[in-house]
């Protein structure tokens, strides 16, 4: 009898640990609940571009949020600055080269948070995320500040057409264009595009 009880306890413990260790998948569906924004502040003008057609997924261990991986994709063709001529230029070979490299990607490898608590309903965490950013076919490993908040399914979310639980992920970081083989051409009266652009990300991932 004692043997059976010990075996059952061992099985239960294994199941619990196994349950904790399993990562939960959150999808990043394209649409207005996603926003990737860039800002270039140059001599001649400040350019702001956006894309809401971001897609991907995050695999998060809610009990240990540092164990997170995932990938998000931004199609270059969906990045708009509000000026059609400028958008055409943006997709050309000397800029983002949409034909040869149609997507910008960020592959999340790991994250570390200041607070080690589990991601439960209403919990938000701040920390750093490390991943591989690919722009114009060039991949660089970068570490960026990240904020993440977990919200359980609610009527508030349903009003935003979000069924199930959701993760909100935000980050702001800078990218040096030359690191990715993009060099703004010299202009007579100053640069139209900055050498360093600021990227702002606000993603909402859902588990259904």
């Amino acid at each position: 009898m004692r043997q059976i009880m010990l075996t059952l306890c061992a099985l239960a413990s294994t199941a619990m640990i196994g349950g904790v260790a399993v990562a939960e998948t959150f999808n990043v569906p394209p649409g207005n609940i996603q926003l990737v924004e860039f800002e270039s502040e140059a001599d001649i003008e400040t350019i702001r571009g956006i894309s809401t057609a971001v897609s991907g997924k995050l695999d998060v261990n809610l009990a240990s949020p540092g164990n997170v991986t995932g990938k998000v994709v931004v199609p270059v063709a969906t990045i708009k600055t509000g000026n059609t001529t400028r958008d055409e230029h943006l997709a050309e070979p000397n800029w983002l080269d949409a034909k040869s490299h149609p997507n910008l990607t960020f592959e999340l490898v790991s994250a570390s948070f200041k607070d080690t608590k589990a991601l439960a309903a209403g919990v938000s965490l701040r920390g750093k995320a490390t991943g591989k950013l690919t722009i114009k076919g060039v991949t660089k490993t970068i570490t960026v500040p990240i904020r993440i908040k977990y919200i359980a399914a609610s009527d508030k979310l349903k009003k935003l057409y979000i069924q199930g639980n959701a993760l909100r992920v935000k980050s702001t970081f800078e990218v040096t264009l030359a690191d990715f083989g993009i060099k703004p051409p010299d202009q007579l009266i100053g640069a139209k595009v900055a050498e360093v652009v600021t990227i702002k990300v606000a993603l909402t991932a859902v588990d259904k």
Binding site: N32, L35, R86
Partner: protein, 114 residues
């Protein structure tokens, strides 16, 4: 063109150029105006000076030429601005407005204090 007409145009351009340089230095060192705004102001001032001098000095039949040249320059400037700098994509404006609203709603739903 007569010698007087040539001299008048030179005077107008010289005055306009002097105003342009003074304006450029003043605006770039004393304000946060962007280059485009500064160029626009300089263009307007140069055009104003050229037209004012021409109005006073040139015969009526020459005035039309100057006015036409100035109008052409303004039109070229406006077209350049609309083509390369201005927000002219209506779908972008709509998407941006919807996105901003949705993001604000999400922040509210998440009690987003971060």
């Amino acid at each position: 063109m007569s010698a007087t007409t040539n001299r008048t145009l030179l005077v107008a351009l010289g005055l306009g150029g002097a105003v342009a340089i003074a304006t450029l230095v003043t605006f770039q060192f004393t304000t946060d105006l962007g280059v485009l705004t500064t160029l626009g102001i300089i263009g307007a001032m140069v055009g104003g000076v050229v037209f004012a001098v021409a109005l006073k000095k040139l015969p009526a039949h020459r005035l039309g030429l100057v006015a036409g040249a100035l109008l052409g320059t303004v039109a070229a400037g406006v077209i350049t601005y609309q083509t390369f700098f201005a927000i002219n994509d209506e779908q972008f404006v709509k998407t941006q407005a919807e996105s901003t609203q949705t993001q604000a709603d999400l922040d509210a739903a998440f009690d987003d204090d971060f």
